[in-house]
Symmetry: none
Subunit: 185 residues, 4 copies
DNA sequence: TATGAATGAGAGTTCATTCAT
DNA sequence: GATGAATGAACTCTCATTCAT
């Protein structure tokens, strides 16, 4: 994952991967079959970890009773905490997966759909006005993009914390999506 | 640019590039020296074109007196119009450049800094409350990320228009950024 | 033997051989030392089995008094019966052994010499005219080649029997080899 | 062709082939695309050369007026002359092609079918008695096998000439197929 | 100005073979 | 007596790059 995240799929060599893992190339092939399989395995593991973190932080949609804002805040904190603590994995998901064609792009698209769906549901509940499904989807993409960009920013800015990233995003969006005073639940 | 944008830096072959250009490989080397130089040249040209489009749309620094919203709207329209009309170039800048390490990442970072600086100045003028420089920078990253994500969304969604992308982004941000009295429509 | 006969020496993998044998690879090495040794062992076993079958069929050197034609017929029947009943072994001896260079070619040559010597003695006794040793040897090679080819033909032709192969070969050769007075049936 | 004929398909390395040809490996790939293509090309060239030699020697089936025996003799001379003068090509066709599975076996089978068909037509005309098609086919296989074996014998026996091989084969078969005195045409 | 022809270097992958247990 | 786990070496194939013309 580290080698893929830093060098990219094509530029990463199985040699270097094996070396970093402290094993021989044939062993890597014994367990992971091919470069493609290996990359896919990395992708899936990172995607699952990220989604798990976000869901755990945000509470599933069924977890009622939590104020919307608190849910959003927790989801964002979980997201940024995870990406900040795992920059190589984040690079893998956000950059490498989407850049190297099929079948990886499909894998990345799956994750992104999960993320935007998650966000769409939060948005729909939080919006101050009515939203068509298409508007909600577009807004989700904008929000997820902003979060992704802030994750990169946090990873490359000294002393940037997950809190700061989450606060920034809320600062940007809260007025549009909800006002703490007027909307609860 | 087309080949790089579609295949990625590593997967693009000089063979295919020369063929698409209708010349021989040695000619490509004669004028552009190496794959790396060629990619860098593509990057720079695309970055310059995008920045020029955005600046022209938003009004240069000298173009004072334009209402903030109109400036933002025009900048967004210029951005989305450019990315929508030039998807390969956009893929080059947004994905390939940042994915394949140095020296390309530096090139991409330069463009991004120009963009966020530009946006920072707009934000600072538009904000409803006082912002520290760091807050402004972080917000810019969030905004630019949202715009990038919407550009991808527009490029992959049928019937999505630059207007729709720009409207979405304004919908998300205007309350936070513009003063109540400038809100219209 | 099965794996070697079907895949060829190079394409056969020790993995597959061990698997088919129902043991682990190290065990194969424990008993048979190397791929080369293993192949040689297969070769020798098959060669011995074929020669034994032919000798038993033809009557050993001690079994005098048998009419020449009967001896030839029995030898051919034994040969075709063995190759037809053991196609993998036959492929091993006839094709693989001679195709993969030293030291296997030598092993195959040994078998072939035994066969042609055997045939030479039969021919010498059966010839209608006087033969120099060299003529006899050349004739043996021709005969053995015809038999080998018919063995392949029988193995790849539906409903072909050892009898049919033997009959074909006798049809071709009897006039040249047997004396008019011994012709029967 | 030389490397394939001596080492076998699998054991031949593109490295060695290129070296023997006095060029670099990539050049071989530039012109011949893959090991499989290269081998197939060798096969086809050798097969075509052999068939051309035999047909030229024997005269096509339409070339009437030539005594059958003379046609047979010429065909055999052409065959043995070709195989004797081109032992690597002969090894390629007779051994390697048939030993290394598809798609090469099919190529070899094509050649063999051409040869046996050719021989079948000669046999049918030359036979002293009536033959069913199946008998003729089986006899062809026997004859071709004998010829193949004699070709190997001639290639590995000092001072063996094409004449000697052809004479041997005729000696073996003439009585069964035709008597010079009783059959002409 | 332009290119046909050629290659050095390195990629992913496989496999006979061997420890440590 | 038997094997799970591991690897050195070699293979086919690709590609950025450069002469000679």
């Amino acid at each position: 994952m580290r080698v893929f995240g830093r060098r990219g799929y094509r530029a990463a060599s199985m040699e270097e991967i094996a070396e970093l893992a402290g094993v021989s190339k044939p062993l890597v092939y014994l367990y992971l079959h091919s470069k493609e399989d290996l990359f896919t395995a990395c992708l899936r593991r990172e995607a699952a970890a990220l989604m798990a973190a976000v869901r755990a932080g945000a509470g599933g949609p069924g977890k009622g009773g939590v104020p919307v804002d608190e849910g959003l805040w927790a989801a964002l904190m979980a997201f940024f905490t995870h990406t900040t603590g795992n920059p190589d994995g984040w690079a893998l998901l956000h950059r490498q997966a989407r850049t190297h064609g099929e079948p990886f792009a499909a894998e990345a698209a799956t994750l992104r759909t999960e993320l935007t769906d998650h966000v769409t549901s939060l948005i729909t509940r939080a919006s101050t006005g009515p939203l068509t499904p298409r508007e909600a989807t577009a807004l989700s993409h904008a929000l997820v993009g902003a979060a992704e960009s802030l994750a990169d920013w946090a990873n490359s800015t000294p002393a940037a914390t997950p809190e700061e990233a989450a606060r920034t995003l809320l600062h940007l969006t809260r007025p549009a999506l909800s006002s703490p005073r007027t909307r609860r639940r």
